[in-house]
Structure formats: structure tokens, C-alpha cells
Amino acid sequence: MATTLAGALGTLPDGVFDRLADGYGDGEALDLLAAAELAVNRALVSEILAETAAGGELLAEVEREAPETFDAVLSHPFVRAWAVSCFDGGKAEPDRTAAIAAAVAVRAGIVADVQVHAHDGLVHLPTVGVFEAPAPQVRVTVGPSLFVLRWPGGRAELPATGGRDGPGWHAARWVTLDGVRVQLEDADPYREHLTYAPAGRLDAAAHEDWAALLAQAWQHIADDAPGQLDGLRHGLRAIVPLAEDPAGGLRSASSRHAFGALGLSRTGDPAAAAVLLVHEFQHTKLSALLDLIDLVATPAARLPVGWRADPRPVEAVLQGAYAHLAVADLWRRRGDEARYRRHRAWTTEAVGALLTGGHLTEAGVRFAEHMAATVRSWP
């Protein structure tokens, strides 16, 4: 009989937990993590609805009428980043609930009429697009073949689903990778929650460049990290173009508060991009798991690591080891002996430190032991 591992917010089947702990995680595992992250977003948005009337009734209505579209919009990675900022002393913009409701209505073609506040001169409808608002508030009117924005003294009629650019309107950018639609997130204001500054909005040429880069990077992942591919198909939601490093290096980032979003700076080297995507996807998986189940027993402790000079918090050590494990496997498959040995050593040392200091919970020990077993299985 299948058993489950219970955590503070939910459970995972043992087999799913162990497959993630091995360093991979298939589509089933990512579907479960994504479902849990969606539930977290629902809980956070429901908390915000207790504090604002903006769009609340419409949000409930569009959930009833188009539950799949509602889930798709609420699953957008930066919904959580926004929600958290409403509570943690960051930007408090609870009225963005109206924009979320409007986004669902536009995508599903539901009849709606809702007032949406502009922030920093922009009305952003997650997963749909962003409008340079000429007024502090814009009325969004939606119908099956209608999408109109109105403000005192003006109006803009947009394509029904908002899918093409128009005057003042920047439609959401998407790419299709291996049959999976992934957003190229170049407009959400909360994408700044990633460590590095985001790149600006993408014009048509930049959109094409990114699509080509990601298609090639995906092929490299298929060749060199095939164990990650199924998880990526089910868990990757958005790629955030990051501003380029003035020093010429490549940048990548992810956030505990943005499940499925991977930040990446543009590069002409898709093989290098593949390494960074695999690295960051490890973080997004482990972050979602940590939402459900505590793995760290001594969060205040710091441990030395091979990849940085300064001791790191235990959770960062676990995150780093998990990322380096997947990257070691990629270099092993690519036949780059030096890089493989380096990442393998970092992983082995970090897992050893985690397991010997009483720094992990019982579930954390199980997780780290699976990681260690994966590394031992390599030549």
C-alpha cells in the first residue's frame, strides 16, 4: 500500500518525495507540487480579499464560470510574489485582485465590467498583458468578442483575448517548448522579486531571439539532462528575461515566492542557458517541497560550502547541493570531466555536512540520503 510523507501543509506520496530527493522529479511530482502551490496562492488571495473589495465579486464569479482559466491565472508565479508583498511590509497593492479577475475574464471571454487601478502608470493583467494607463483608474469591459479599456476622456478597443499589441497595450509574450506553452514574462512588476533587475519589454525581434534560444536550450536539456525534462514540462511556467551582466557573465535567478519562474539573461550560448535552467529549476522544485514539508532542523546554523567562501544557512546549503547535483549529472552526461568532478564534490561535501550535524529533520535526512545515493551511483 502506498504511504505518504506528512508535512506542515500537506502530504506527498513516499515515492514522489523519493523521486524528488533523488535529484529529479517527474511530471506526477511536479503536478502535485504545482497543485499545492496553487492552493497556497488561493489561500493568500483569499486573505487579501478580506482586506479589499476590489474585484472580489468578479473573482468569485469567474472562478465559477471558468475554473481552469482561473487556476491558470492564479498559478502565475508572480501572483504569490505580489500577495506576499501585501503582507510583508513591501509594496501593498491589494487592489490588484481586480486585475486578476479581469485577466481571467479576458482569457475566458466572460462578460465583465470592472474598475482596475493603475500602479506606476500601468494596468497589468497577469498572463494577458500590460496597458500604459492615461488615468489612475481604467474600466475594463469584457465580452465574448470584446475587450475595451475606458478612462475619463478616452477608450481603447483591444483584440478580444488581448493577444496582440495595440496602442498602449503590450500583449503577454509566450513560447512553446516541446508542446508546452511557457510565458516569456517581460512585464509583471513583481518579476523584480528575482535577485537581478529584469530586462525591458520584448519587441518582436527580441521575442523571436528568446524563442530560438529557449528551443535550443531545451534540446540541450533533452540531450544532457533527460531526467529533468518531464518535470520541466509540468512545472515550468515562465522565463523572465534578466538584464545582462555588465561584466559579461550569465545571470540566472529564481524565488521561493515564484514557483515555476526562472530568470535568465540573454546569451548566444544555449548549452550554457540549459545548465542555468536546470540549476534554477532545482530551486523551484525544492522551494515548493519546503512549503509542504520541513526538511531543515537548524535554520539559524551556517555551514561551509565548496561553491562560496562564506558559510551559508542550512537551507541554502540544501538548495545549493540540490542544484549542483543536477548540474553535476548534466556535466557527467556531457563528458566534461572537470566540471562534473567539481559539482559532484560540492554536492557530496554539502550533503555530508548536512547529514552529520543534526541539521535536518527526519524527512530532511531521508531527502539528503537519496541525494547521496544518486551521487554514489555515478562512476
Partner: protein, 45 residues
């Protein structure tokens, strides 16, 4: 608006309409999310 009584898990929250999720269910999730340890990652983690 009537609230559902005490959903206990993310599974139940997933099944509860957004305007009927009780604070008793959502507040513990909010607390846990806000006390998250490391929240931002780069390749230099």
C-alpha cells in the same frame, strides 16, 4: 458571506471557492509563507 467551516489542508482549500476559504484555513498558510527562510536564489547560492 458564509464561510466554510475550518478547511484543514491545501487539498480542501483547492476545493473551496475563493470567497469561501475561511481565515482559520488561510492564516496558517500565510504565516508559514511569510516565515520562509531563503527566498531568492541565483547560480551562486
Amino acid at each position: 458571506m458564509q464561510k466554510t467551516p475550518k478547511p484543514q489542508s491545501l487539498d480542501e482549500i483547492r476545493r473551496t471557492p475563493i470567497d469561501r476559504i475561511a481565515p482559520v484555513a488561510s492564516a496558517p498558510i500565510l504565516r508559514r509563507v511569510l516565515r520562509s527562510g531563503v527566498t531568492r536564489f541565483t547560480a551562486a547560492i
